[in-house]
């Protein structure tokens, strides 16, 4: 066959290194058109209609205020967002002017050169002073602000009121009690998981690490070092992984579960307790356990304390490639304003990122209370480093938890390996 020529071409190609692989030009556009069409990408939620209605009214008001301006909103599926965003960065011509994104992706997108620095505009925006500090941290990279928080999400402990009543159980007040209660439930009701946990459910596991005084990483932007193998973190990892036993949540089934799987199990009435977010409320309400569950903050190590939760949520940012800079920033502020966030809470249950708006929401809807309490007790965020996207997508932490759960490695060895991989990522990406 044409093997030799093919090899020759390959080798020749390799030798000719003068031509580098393709790179798209993502430098910020100099244009700042005051009219035209603005393209917006928002996430498609489960049951998206109420969100569309809120957004439509914001857009209508915006189009009325700006002559000759049209806003084209597209809802993109959450599962394919990574590809869509990559494509947008690779081809600025087909990119939107504004987009919604998960707050753990901020640093990665900034490094990719996709997001516009809006520090000045954010500071000048009258509503921004009420923004929750953790939410603000999630749009901040190296002291600069790249977008505005859209909503926050935190997780708390869901439990079955009927099961607790039948077994005469009290709501656990600390982590030791949590584990004991879980085992009691499983012993009395073998058809239920005590506390359903997942080996791939990182944001359910991290509160155990944080409550024990551990950290994902120490340092600051540019010089992070992993701390997942510290003594305190190891204690937390041990507390979480010791829940994967036949007397609570059998490893053979629970090791591969992610966050959604645990919520699905709880909603289907297969678990006594679960760690779920405010955003899981709708799914649980739609499940079999409707009316027979309650939510409390996840207890910490000390009795009565609250385990620090991961401050999840989404942001809205302007893309660097936009040719309507002023208009896009204005629309961003309208979409993330106090008024919009309040209506989005009513429509979708998204927790507002403004402290005062959140208080009003909690007063209106009692189910928000445990989540608001959790937020008030202090939350944690992932390292604001571009390396985080890589650590997240190469599954460093789920792999660590699964290695321990399945007995392949002990806590010390697995956490040390994970720390090594994290440090490598921090080293190469800063």
């Amino acid at each position: 066959m044409k093997l030799a020529p093919r090899l020759a071409v390959l080798l020749a190609a390799v030798v000719v290194t003068a031509c580098a692989p393709q790179t798209s030009d993502n430098s910020s556009s100099d244009k700042d058109d005051q009219s035209g069409t603005l393209r917006v990408w928002l996430f498609q939620e489960v049951g998206n209609k109420p969100k569309e209605k809120v957004v439509d009214s914001v857009v209508a008001a915006f189009e009325k205020a700006h002559k000759d301006t049209k806003v084209d909103v597209e809802y993109i599926p959450v599962e394919t967002r990574a590809q869509r965003v990559k494509a947008a960065f690779n081809d600025p011509k087909s990119a939107p002017d504004l987009m919604e994104f998960g707050n753990t992706d901020t640093a990665g997108y900034v490094k990719d050169g996709g997001l516009l620095d809006v520090t000045k505009e954010f500071g000048a925006w009258s509503e921004s002073k009420d923004t929750d500090p953790t939410a603000k941290q999630s749009v901040t990279v190296d002291g600069k602000i790249y977008g505005t928080p859209f909503y926050v999400g935190v997780r708390a402990l869901y439990y079955r009121t009927d099961v607790f009543k039948a077994l005469g159980l009290d709501v656990p007040k600390n982590m030791a009690e949590l584990a004991a209660t879980a085992r009691t439930i499983r012993a009395a009701r073998p058809d239920l998981y005590g506390l359903v946990v997942g080996g791939a459910y990182m944001y359910g596991a991290m509160p155990f690490v944080w409550a024990n005084g551990g950290e994902l990483a120490t340092g600051k932007s540019g010089s992070y070092a992993s701390a997942i193998d510290s003594a305190a973190a190891q204690k937390g990892i041990k507390a979480y992984t010791s829940l994967f036993t036949d007397d609570n949540c059998p490893a053979a089934k629970c090791a591969s579960m992610g966050g959604n799987d645990t919520i699905t199990a709880f909603a289907a009435g297969k678990a006594g307790m679960a760690i779920g977010g405010d955003f899981s409320h709708t799914a649980v309400e739609a499940g079999k356990v409707k009316g027979e569950y309650a939510v409390v903050p996840l207890p910490g190590v000390k009795s009565g304390s609250i385990a620090p939760a991961f401050a999840g949520g989404n942001n809205i940012g302007v893309l660097k490639s936009t040719s309507h800079r002023t208009l896009a920033v204005d629309l961003m502020e309208q979409l993330a304003s106090k008024k919009t966030q309040a209506s989005l809470f009513d429509a979708m249950g998204f927790l507002p990122t403004f402290a005062d708006v959140r208080q009003q929401a909690a007063a209106k809807e009692p189910y928000v209370k445990p989540f608001a309490q959790t937020l008030a007790a202090g939350t944690k965020f992932v390292p604001a480093s571009p390396a985080w996207s890589q650590i997240d997508s190469s599954l460093v932490l789920p792999t660590m938890f699964q290695e321990i759960i399945s007995g392949k490695k002990d806590v010390a060895a697995a956490s040390k390996d994970a720390a090594k991989k994290m440090d490598q990522a921090f080293g190469s990406a800063g």
């Binding site: 692989p21 900034v110 789920p398 792999t399 399945s406 392949k408």
Partner: protein, 332 residues
């Protein structure tokens, strides 16, 4: 990717099997490219190139250029930040390769891939050959049924097949556990049991190729040879070992190499059935690992390096394949 490779191989084999049954000489010269070239090259001039041109253009566009890009990217620090212009692209030399070779996970995955592919090839050949022999011994109706069942398995898209197999072995709803009385045993939790499950699916969807090809080969073996063996009182196994297998050697070589290439590159089954590589990555094979590095973590440079390593391994296998074919061509 694999789908077009198979029918093409089958077509080639069909010709080969035919040839075996005929007296020597005959159609051979028109089939083997190098021969006519050797004596008529001066007269033909540009004609062969003209005929080849369309194929060469397609090959160039769809094969050479991507391989060129793959090789090129593997020498650069090339992640999403470089693609979208956030950071300059820097030349890393063999940096990606040294990163890869110093990663203990790569070696684990490579060993797992080789062992898993070997197990798949052996099982596929065993099942395929056994059923091919069976086909020659049964009546028309059951033969048709078996053929149809095999072709059905062959025609099923890998992703559908994987999902169905996964469902069959599901701990909560799967019929297999119910029939075997295993309760809620999870087949995907243990490393070996998960690999075993994937192996079953791979064998199921690839044995038909072996079976059909070998069956065609057996049909082409002259009846008197088998009759003579039977008269000598040879057992079924003995006939296979001493008569059929040696006569079918060219066919067996080809299906083996094809299976090696195919099973080495297995992706869909692992990705679907072990949920992207199993618990703590215990069921990763090279192709899924490359996908994870290149597209999961956006490390396109490193992913390309893995691709190049796979390409070289498979090129080596192909070279062996070509050598074997040529040697047999002279023997025949």
């Amino acid at each position: 990717m694999t789908a077009p490779a198979r029918p093409e191989g089958a077509g080639r084999l069909g010709v080969r099997a035919d040839r075996g049954s005929r007296p020597r000489g005959g159609s051979r010269t028109s089939n083997t490219a190098p021969r006519p070239h050797r004596y008529r090259s001066s007269r033909q001039g540009k004609a062969p190139w003209l005929y080849l041109a369309p194929a060469l253009v397609v090959l160039g566009g769809l094969l050479v250029y991507p391989i060129y890009q793959l090789g090129l990217i593997s020498f650069f620090q090339y992640t999403q930040a470089q693609v979208s212009g956030g950071e300059p692209t820097t030349f890393k030399g063999f940096g990606n390769y040294t990163d890869l070779f110093s990663d203990s996970q790569f070696w684990q995955v490579l060993v797992a891939t080789v062992v898993f592919a070997a197990a798949c090839v052996v099982s596929t050949l065993a099942v395929g050959c056994a059923l091919a022999v069976l086909l020659t011994h049964i009546r028309a109706v059951p033969r048709l049924a078996l053929m149809l069942a095999a072709l059905g398995a062959w025609a099923t898209p890998a992703i559908t097949g994987s999902t169905v197999w996964l469902f069959l072995f599901d701990p909560d709803f799967g019929p297999v556990n119910r029939v075997l009385g295993l309760g809620d045993h999870s087949w995907t939790y243990g490393r070996y049991s998960a690999f075993f499950l994937v192996l079953l699916e791979v064998v199921w969807c690839s044995f038909p190729f072996v079976m059909v090809t070998v069956y065609a080969g057996i049909r082409a073996v002259p009846g008197e040879v088998l009759e003579a063996a039977a008269l000598d009182g040879a057992s079924q196994w003995r006939v296979w070992r001493s008569v059929l297998a040696p006569m079918l050697r060219p066919i067996l070589t080809v299906v083996t190499i094809q299976s090696v290439i195919w099973d080495f590159k297995v992706f869909t089954q692992i990705y679907v059935m072990t949920n992207g590589g199993g618990i703590a990555g215990q069921n990763l094979v090279l192709n899924v690992y490359a996908y994870q590095q290149a597209f999961g973590s956006s490390q396109y440079g490193l992913g390309s390096a893995i691709g190049v390593v796979m390409l070289l391994i498979l090129l080596a296998v192909t070279l062996v394949y070509l050598r074997l074919l040529r040697r047999q061509g002279e023997e025949l």
